[in-house]
Symmetry: D2
Subunit: 339 residues, 4 copies
């Protein structure tokens, strides 16, 4: 009953198999290998984006920080939700990579931004020489609260940004879960909604540490490559990253693994609700935030459950539960049986 994070799970068998398959003979280095080139082709197809440029890195933090540094100048403001991973969990990586850009944290229920609040925040960032300048918008889908932006919601927010002349980044560490949750096509949730650069996550969906940064507008892609190299994020043996990503893209695994995780979360949510447990946020993907009576967390842990504490409304005891491709129905059932 491990619900700490989707990155606590092992990797699915096809990922291991792909590493074995690709481990044949000598090859070119630094991303000039065939599997890396194939990833670009595959993602262009998946996203209906024949001009997109794709680069692989090993962490979501690197994907986000490098992408934002390419979009936003050092004196720029990055508008984001106050709960955004870039704002709370990257130890200042965006500030570091951008040489000091300023994140503007914006509040909003369930970790979602509202277009009018975003617009107000952008407008409040003047254009005088004394302020940081308007730099970029960074969205997150699935959000940190486990909620999801629809294609329409994404387009509304991106539209606010673009109207102000700002490029749009999407932190899609759980983008596959968002696609599974909405049923939208990948293109609809990204570039068609106004996203310029997507951090397309593989790690939380089953890979060992592989994220694809997708530039739908290739103009900044060479700059990104230089930043990636300079950040120490260009691996010489690209094939081992690429093979994993290809394995995830094969046979619609990217979607089925994410859909499974979402389904397990929904099952947990329904079960908990049926047992009278309050959920702090709507459960729309693979994360849920139950609140319960004091002492419950300790009891659950003594039964073998693993999760992070996350106080609920009014400081009630609570938890964050995350499901993954590897979460089994049996685990879910056993967890629910503890209530």
């Amino acid at each position: 009953m491990w619900f700490t994070s989707d990155n606590a799970a092992p990797v699915p068998p096809p990922v291991l198999a792909a590493l074995t398959s690709v481990n044949e003979g000598f090859t070119k280095g630094y991303g000039a290998d065939d599997p890396t080139l194939a990833v670009q082709t595959r993602l262009r197809t998946l996203f209906d984006a024949p001009e997109a440029v794709v680069h692989l890195v090993t962490t979501g933090t690197a994907a986000n920080a490098l992408a934002l540094a390419s979009l936003c100048p050092p004196w720029g403001a990055v508008f984001c939700h106050e709960a955004a991973h870039i704002n709370t969990d990257e130890c200042g990586a965006p500030e570091f990579y951008s040489n000091g850009a300023k994140l503007i944290p914006i509040a909003g229920p369930h970790a979602r931004l509202a277009p009018e609040v975003l617009a107000a925040s952008i407008n409040a960032t003047g254009e005088s020489l004394h302020n940081v300048q308007r730099g970029a918008l960074s969205l997150t889908n699935v959000t940190e609260a486990g909620t999801v932006y629809s294609a329409t919601a994404t387009a509304a927010l991106a539209g606010v940004a673009r109207a102000a002349g700002l490029p749009v980044h999407l932190d899609g560490a759980r983008f596959c879960n968002a696609v599974a949750a909405t049923g939208a096509r990948p293109a609809a949730l990204s570039w068609q909604a106004g996203v310029d650069v997507l951090s397309f996550g593989g790690t939380k969906n089953g890979l060992m540490g592989v994220e694809a940064v997708i530039f739908f507008d290739p103009a900044k892609a060479w700059e990104f490559e230089l930043r990636r190299k300079r950040g120490g994020h260009l691996l010489s043996k690209g094939r081992y990253l690429a093979a994993q990503m290809l394995a995830m893209l094969d046979s619609d695994h990217w979607l089925t693994w994410a859909a499974h995780a979402n389904r397990m979360a929904a099952r947990l949510a329904r079960g908990l609700a049926a047992r009278g447990v309050t959920l702090t946020h709507p459960v729309e993907a693979n994360i849920l935030f139950p609140e319960w009576d004091a002492g419950t967390s300790a009891r659950l842990r003594s039964e073998g459950a693993a999760f992070y504490d996350m106080p609920g409304a009014d400081g009630r005891e609570g938890a964050r539960l995350v499901t993954s491709w590897a979460t089994s129905e049996a685990e879910v059932a056993r967890f629910l049986s503890l209530f």
Copy 2:
């Protein structure tokens, strides 16, 4: 006949097997997993350094740049050979991670520094407010010319640095090859010779992309952790890096793979010399730099050899050949048969 780089080779079977073995169940993230902890224990033992702190990253550039940023302030000078990887092949990563430290390139035959030349360079960097300040020494062993520093030579250079109050970093992307070449114990080639931080390379010795940064003095290790996180180099699924490193440390593979690479290089060197081919640098590890008549490179490539061009003395046509754990005797023989 791939001799482009040791990173062009596939990974040895034990590395793949280790990934499979470690892919069991859920585990803690971000380096708190058991395999990551085991790596530290194993490297402490290998280096007779019970206080050492070990952190894994995926590239040598990250290892070097993060280590140097921890040792050298933004206004510091990093003394290094002009051919050092940090100076020529990292797209400014040390400058980026250190927030603008200045590399002081020093000449020296066969990519080796001489103590008196190093001392002169340090002395020429004044201590006035107007100059960059003396920051750190960065050595490389095996050097970019394929030569090796003995323990004595390392100690002489590190001694110059320490006498000037400078910490010492060692870029050991091919440290295993240096150990194999010298027969010295790992401790003798590192901390006992005055090295404070070692980039201990796994990638060029058979791993998919794993380097261990070893702080023999743990005082800076927490700062390094923050820099690594902030650089996007802390992987959530640490077990997959650690398992590879453990596989390399098992059964003395780290040494036998490197020794094999060195042996293949020596065989190439002897064969080429016997055929009248000049070598630009002494062949002491797994890299060699033959010079030959114009047209030879094209001919060799047409026969299936892969390598990088590297003009020799007086601009003669030449090449860089690198051997690896995967270079076979048959390949070597076939390559020599082309002369």
Copy 3:
């Protein structure tokens, strides 16, 4: 009737006279001149701080950003009021100089921080590897709302910071006005209250562009010097900065000029209140924020008044008025006569 800012005023005659006096013969450069040394002696005496180290720069932004960069690591959080100049008016200078530290904006009425709110903000900044780390506290006195911290209030806030292990910076662009307002001794408002580094402003109190950064704890002063040089803020002809600062310190000008400015603000405040004009913030120093009926600003400007617009509560039309050493009683009277 110029009330745009205290930096819109000319400089007092003694400042000009001091430049003439000091313009004799040749002298050492880069701060080794006698007037620069005398400034340090004079400020040590004024602050009862015989160990303090003093460095001059030409702008408050430089003073603040360089001071904070010396106190807070790149991965640190700088706690400050959301209205702080460092947060709103320096185009990201603190982030730039610190290589990406993160400002944590904290709300509080009248631009003042409350100790318990500060403590909550510090506590909410965890100490995990994933967050930015607790870095420093930056206070501002006089605040951007024209309010003042007493010595007691300063000590309470600094105490919260120090209890959490954080150093304390004080942006004293209008520190002289704060002394004049509180009647406290300079020491009581700074190091005795727990301030480690003070940006002691001269520019807004009548100098052409001179600020003294005072390190009460000299441990970081050399680092500051290197950062200042590297930031291009070490002037070769230090005597011309120092002479101005000495002129301000002579004959208690620093206090009388500031007290005059405060008095003019109080007179404006009383006069406006008597005429039924609401003031958004308490008037405690030399800044006031009146609100008035729509159209008033245009009318006042047509009569020759200069000031910045500053909407009041509920978006009412309003202004910011700043007085200075040069504000005359006649100007004040004339302005009030317009109501």
Copy 4:
């Protein structure tokens, strides 16, 4: 007999007078004042450059580092002479402001670059992802050896840079002396020769600390403004910088002060040569480098001469002498009388 530096001199009377003149009434801040606008007009005229954008800063280091940061990306190489001030005397300011650009020091007699050596250095900086990229050329005129580039020589070097796609910066801390030395028009020594941005020095020619950064191509000027603000180099009371610069531009003072300094240096050079003193570099502007027998420096100092030690060829005892607008014929004569 102060020959330490041209920045050791007092300022000429017209500079002081200008400060008094401009100290009237209230004015706009942050460069929106009339004198600052007038400086731009005057420099556009002086340089026959009606589109040029001019910004003032207080130090040459700030001028150079901010200009280079605007021209060269963080991953760029700045080609410069190894003796360049940016390389040796700015404590890493260019690296800091550019977020880690790499200075490529190039040798050349008398601190001058040769076009073919520059071209070779540029060519040796590959365009692969692994290297820093070609960024910018930075020239210095007058050079650190006191030699001068003619308009033709400047054009030849700038031509090499532009052919490689590089923008050209000119460190003109002593640009006025170069104009005086060559008799060339300012335009001919700058934009007509291919210079994109000029650091036009006022400080070494008599101002208290004022340098004009002139963007002949205004495309980058707004970025420069943001960098300047963020660097803490935008003074609120711009009139006091501008007034000094205007005073220097009035009545051809800029030229006559520099010409005087050059003349005093030439007189020293002739006198020393007549007395058998060797000069290390040709004396073309206001700096000279005599070599003499051991013990001479101490003797001269005991007679009241001030200068910096600068060992000559083969380590002989030597000095650097700098003349200025304030160097008198009597001082020169007295110094020569000591030989």
